[in-house]
Symmetry: C2
Subunit: 352 residues, 2 copies
């Protein structure tokens, strides 16, 4: 049995055994019941996901998967293809948004090359080099990846997530970098959700209306020529996805299998999350959607997934920037759950 199948077989529905004791503890903490709002829901879910009555968030790891896209040649982005590789170097030097946020919020960032169209110095410190190909083929002309290549990328994501969990990671996050990848994400999300491409085609890094219409047409062509079958999620991923999106799928699956929550970034990471949920619907309960992206269509997609994002700050950068902020909120929720005094401990008179 391959790593993917093995991982899928280990994913269990959320164990609800701890729901009652978790709620009981929340109700004994020195605050009016429910007054921490969604932070209370988050803490309770964290308990159920991890299966630990008093879980902790001492180690947070965020993966930034990077890859290029054949479709970038069709002019679907405001930036040229070489920006993917340039941004990888920016991540490694700490000058990108995600690396700034990670320093503030005490998150370990793992930068992973799964398919960047560039040769990096094999000694590049901090870069995980797992390149499968120098970018995908153009999804508008046929499959973006072979099924085998997509599977390999998913399994790299699984293996990396399992490794950091073995080393103590208690909260995972996923982000991405790849010029052209909002086109791939919109195609995937349209194929799975049935929402028309036009409604899921946003301005990405900042394209004008003419380019946006071309982008929507390209997605229509991609759907027409690939005939994606949503009941075969790995096949759809291979046809329409990208290597970095496949890596995200892997982390989502491994997180669910290992009972470690995975915080999802924006529009593109949501496409990876959807593939993971299509492979095994139970995965959804292990995922936390960090924020509502300003990218057109994200709201509809999250509604279709029946999930509610934590933040709405008009962000649309990717890289895991929204996930980093969300991970900090999850840490807040779990710390409140663990560290607040109960009414009895603090000698505070309770409502009853």
């Amino acid at each position: 049995m391959g790593l993917l199948e093995q991982t899928l077989s280990q994913i269990q529905p959320l164990d609800l055994a701890l729901a009652t004791p978790a709620q009981a503890r929340l109700d004994q903490l020195t605050k009016p019941r429910g007054s921490l709002g969604r932070l209370e829901d988050l803490a309770a879910r964290y308990v159920l996901i991890t299966g630990k009555a008093r879980p902790r968030v001492d180690s947070k790891v965020l993966f930034v998967f990077c890859a290029d896209h054949g479709v970038s040649a069709a002019g679907v982005s405001a930036y040229p293809r070489e920006v993917t590789a340039q941004m990888v170097l920016n991540f490694l030097r700490g000058g990108a948004a995600i690396t700034v946020l990670a320093r503030q919020l005490d998150i370990t960032v793992k930068v992973v090359d799964l398919g960047v169209d560039a040769d990096f110095d094999p000694q590049s410190p901090g870069l995980i080099q797992s390149k499968i190909a120098r970018g995908t083929a153009n999804l508008a002309e046929g499959p973006a990846m072979s099924r085998a290549a997509a599977l390999r990328a998913v399994e790299v994501g699984i293996a990396l997530a399992e490794e950091v969990v073995r080393h103590g990671a208690q909260l995972l996050g996923v982000g991405e970098m790849g010029i052209g990848n909002s086109t791939a994400a919109a195609a995937l999300l349209s194929a799975f959700s049935g929402i028309p491409p036009e409604e899921l085609t946003g301005s990405g890094t900042g394209i004008d209306e003419t380019t946006r219409h071309r982008k929507a047409e390209i997605i229509c062509r991609a759907l027409a020529c690939n005939h994606p079958d949503p009941t075969d999620p790995l096949g759809v991923l291979a046809q329409l996805g990208g290597y970095e999106i496949a890596g995200i799928v892997g982390v989502c699956l491994a997180g669910a299998a290992r009972r470690v929550p995975v915080v999802i970034d924006g529009f593109i990471a949501t496409a990876g999350a959807w593939v993971a949920c299509a492979l095994r619907p139970e995965v959804k309960d292990y995922l936390i959607f960090a924020h509502l992206s300003a990218e057109q269509g994200h709201r509809r997609v999250l509604a279709a997934l029946q999930v509610q994002p934590l933040l709405d700050l008009g962000m649309r950068l990717g890289e895991g920037s929204g996930a980093a902020l969300g991970m900090s909120l999850v840490e807040s929720a779990v710390r409140l759950f663990n560290e607040m005094a109960t009414f009895a401990e603090a000698g505070v008179t309770n409502q009853d």
Copy 2:
């Protein structure tokens, strides 16, 4: 000239001189323009407030002002009056929500007794003892405070904020604790905004519908017997407010005078912010509203103030818990502004 008048005279309109260079820097950072959404707006505003081209957020201080309310005897809260003092001790021991969040987010909490109905040990470590009275009088029967007492509480807030700013605080936050204070806050906000009390009367710490109606009636009575005149904000504060709310007013004014941003917590802190803005409308530009509270009426009040909160997590605890999360977002915004590489520095190809 007293401290209040002196502080009011020092408040200037936002200096827009740095708006263009701040935007220019934001547009040169390695990200698509505008893609950090509201974090970019926050960073730009932070530059304008501080008047520094490259401001920093190395020191964050949050005040939790505590006081009791005469109206608590009327049964407007789900908790008895003694909980105010009990929670002060919980703050000092680090077992309350705000103290847990402050530890995570590297915020210094200053707990201030401005009017708690209890005698604390004069040596209580960490407690700033500036008690003006053991609680207010019942606002439904006459003025809650004398004008002189309200002024003193405002000036304590000013003096405390000035002291921490002198010692290097670069970002201030305000929260509160006081059983009964959502009644005072609703009365104040109704007097200033003209929104009917019934629409601003929420369930506070968790009262039932019957109690909520009684609470709304009490607020109506308070407005009827005090005849608040919104053109005399200090007078309205004295009639309807509380000592902790007055402290918040002081911090808002001092922040504006010293050009240090002040992050406002929820419903009750917003009442203090409104009084400060009524005293000097320019103050509003120095305030950052952290979150939309679940307390009924907060949405309407923020809309009336024409401000947009950063977070919407269904929180309604007070203490500064929402402000703490907001302060972390402000820090994120300023760090991104300062620490991200420009396109030129990182050798990343720009859109143009």
